[in-house]
Every structure is written in C-alpha cells, then in structure tokens.
C-alpha cells in the first residue's frame, strides 16, 4: 500500500511550492464565489498562488480519451505549459480538470514518445512542453502543504451542519486520500458533517452527455432527495464539474416538476474564508447561487458578534 501522507506539523520544513491556479470552464462564469474565496484564502495561508493565464478547456478526458488521445494530451499540455513557462506547478480545484491534467502530465512524464508527438503538434502553435511540473489538487495543497494544524489554529468553526459531495473523480487514487482530505478539511471548518448513504453517488455529469433524463432524475435528484432529508445548512463541494451538473439538474427539475432543493451548494474554500473571518461580501458569497446563503451568513454573523 502506498504511503498516505498525513497532515502534520512537519509541513513547515517542506519546500514551498509556487502555483498557477487553473480555473477551467465553469468556475469563472458560474462560481465566482469559489474562485474569489480561493484567491483570498490560499495566499493568507502562505501558498504562493497566481492565475494560470490563457487557460482553455482542460479538455474533457472522458470525451477525448475515447475519441482521440492526441487531443487530450496536446490540449492538456497547452494548459500545462502556461504554468511551466512561469516556473510554477498547477493547482486545480475541479476534480474533472484535475484528472485530465494530472493523468496527461503523468503519461507524458513516463512516455517520451508521446511527449515528442505532443510537441510536434504544439510547435504548430509555437509552443513547447517539457513535462517538468506537477499538477496538484487544491485538497492536496491544503492538507499536505498548509496542514490541518495551521488551518485549525487560524480558523473558527462555522456554526453550521453540512453534507459533502466528493464526486467520482476525487477517487482517482487507490488509497482514496483526496476523499479523506476533503472530509477532514470540511470537518475542522464546520460544526458537523452529516453522512448519508448516497454520499459517494455520482452527480450525473458524464451520464448527462448520453441521457439527460437519467442523469437528472436517477443521479442528481436522488442525491438532492437524500440531502434534503438531512436538514443540513449546505452541501459542500470542490468540483466545478459536479457543480455544473447540479445547477443544470436543478433548473431542469424546477421547470419540469417544480422541484426545489433549497439547500445552498457551496465551495470548501468559502467555508475556509468564513472560518478565517473574511466577510462573505468580500468574495461575493450572496450572488449566483442555486439557493440563498442568507441563513449560513446569519449563523456566521451571530457567532462572530
């Protein structure tokens, strides 16, 4: 069994990494609160973070691996080389983008022939990728580099009960460490993380490409129903792909059967921001929501008084 990193005090001795934040397609247009919360909190926690510039669609490995592997590797490399040119590793919040970029990067590091082929195509756009950088998930950076100790020490729990949705691609590693990081990080930021039977169930995003009805009713709605029964204050996610699917499913469900979820879907970084005392209006928490976050903010304000 591979070593599972612990979030420990020895993080202070680790070499400090510099990151380019890959936004992907969804976060900048549908989740500005998540993007802003990340940009507010990570630098405060000592993470050297800048935007990855010129980012394009990751692209969707689920589509391109089966259609044409060259497209997956070349377009992923185009994104990665933007960070490599700045001498930075890549930080990703979306699980789907992470799997696409992480797996492409690993494959190109291990297979010089594929890297050579990718660079032949990239040369057409006057670009080159050396596969010299790392791709890291937001959860890895928070858990392994910042550490639970520091986050706990510098934050105050938000007095709410939440459910979490990890998402399928968070289980990329056999040891399941990203799911553990997500669960533990959320656990130190709120009063209670309420488990439920459908926690590991898919959001329905991939199925949506083939069968929208199935993705909406047999995946997203089943999750929503289970979460509604928990009487929680929020559903916490980190994956933009899952958020995109949930938002779309909620629009369809409202239109077709008048369904209301009513529980706001929030990003882990928003909890991090609130727990550090950052005003919700500083990162746009109230806007572009699937459900109002006023009750969460009221509980946070009441606790801060």
């Amino acid at each position: 069994m591979a070593d599972i990193p612990n979030s420990s005090k020895d993080n202070a001795t680790a070499v400090k990494s510099r990151y380019s934040f890959f936004l992907g397609c969804v976060m900048p247009v549908k989740m500005p609160w998540g993007e802003s919360a990340i940009m507010h909190t990570l630098p405060e926690l000592g993470v050297d973070l800048e935007y990855l510039k010129k980012g394009t669609c990751c692209p969707r490995a689920g589509v391109w691996k089966s259609v044409d592997e060259r497209v997956w590797l070349t377009l992923a490399s185009y994104n990665l080389l933007q960070a490599e040119g700045d001498g930075r590793d890549v930080l990703v919040s979306c699980n789907g983008c992470y799997v696409t970029l992480y797996e492409a990067n690993q494959l190109l590091k291990e297979n010089p022939e594929k890297l050579k082929q990718v660079n032949e195509y990239l040369a057409e756009a006057h670009s080159h990728y050396n596969a010299s950088i790392r791709v890291r998930h937001l959860l890895e950076v928070l858990y392994e580099e910042v550490g639970l100790d520091r986050i706990r020490r510098e934050s105050r729990k938000v007095p709410i009960r939440v459910a979490i949705h990890p998402g399928c691609h968070m289980r990329i590693f056999d040891d399941g460490r990203l799911v553990r990081y997500f669960s533990e990080l959320t656990g130190i930021l709120v009063d209670e993380v309420v488990p439920y039977e459908e926690e590991q169930m898919c959001c329905g995003l991939q199925a949506n490409l083939a069968d929208r009805h199935f993705a909406t009713y047999e995946r997203a709605k089943k999750k929503f129903d289970a979460i509604k029964a928990l009487n929680v204050d929020a559903l916490v996610i980190v994956c933009s792909g899952c958020y995109d699917q949930f938002e779309r499913a909620l629009q369809i469900l409202k239109k077709e059967i008048g369904y209301e979820f009513g529980i706001p879907i929030i990003h882990l970084a928003e909890l991090l921001a609130l727990s550090r005392g950052i005003d919700p209006d500083d990162f746009g928490m109230r806007y572009l929501r699937t459900a109002p976050v006023d009750a969460i903010i009221a509980k946070w304000e009441s606790d801060r008084r």
């Binding site: 936004l23 397609c25 969804v26 900048p28 247009v29 549908k30 500005p32 609160w33 993007e35 802003s36 940009m39 507010h40 935007y51 990855l52 510039k53 010129k54 980012g55 394009t56 669609c57 692209p59 969707r60 589509v63 259609v67 044409d68 060259r70 497209v71 070349t74 377009l75 185009y78 195509y121 990239l122 057409e124 756009a125 670009s127 949506n208 490409l209 083939a210 929208r212 500083d282 990162f283 746009g284 806007y287 572009l288």
Partner: protein
C-alpha cells in the same frame, strides 16, 4: 491488430448532439461557457476582474487551440468546419 483482424475497419460513430454543441463552444471560445455582461458584473461584486485571465481574456489562446486541432486533423475527423463552425455531416 490488422494481422489478427484483417477485415476490421474503423467505424465512424456519430457524435452525440450534446457533445457537438460543446465542441463548437470549445473550439470557438476555447472554453465550454461564454462570458457576458451579467457574469462580469457578478465577478466584479465578488472582488474579481470582470474578465477572467483565461481564453476569455486572451483570444490568441483560441487561435492556438484551432491551430492545434487543425494540426491533428481532428476537425476533418469529426466533420467540423472550423471557419464556419458547422458540421459537415
């Protein structure tokens, strides 16, 4: 593989409608979702630059994506004319 299955020929599977629309957006703007005035206003209210530093801000990234797609001849493979952004089949 052709030694083992000499009669096997590539099968052209039609691209699902949902994917077709996504590919047009991907190759037109570099990303799956466009940005508009309303989103820019929400970004401002969130303390962010109205236009994110993605291909939305750097149109040369879109040109690069199209160049790469043409270099791999993927546009021909999926039957998409990148100049008109219309499918030929």
């Amino acid at each position: 593989m052709s030694d083992i299955f000499p009669w096997r020929r590539p099968v052209k599977v039609p691209i699902p409608t949902t994917v077709k629309a996504q590919l047009i957006r991907h190759f037109s703007i570099g990303l799956l979702y466009p940005i508009n005035e309303e989103i820019m206003e929400y970004r401002r209210k969130s303390g962010l630059a109205p236009v994110p530093p993605t291909a939305h801000r750097y149109p040369e990234a879109v040109e690069d994506v199209q160049t790469l797609i043409k270099a791999m001849k993927v546009d021909k493979k999926i039957g998409l004319d990148l100049d008109t952004m219309e499918y030929q089949c």
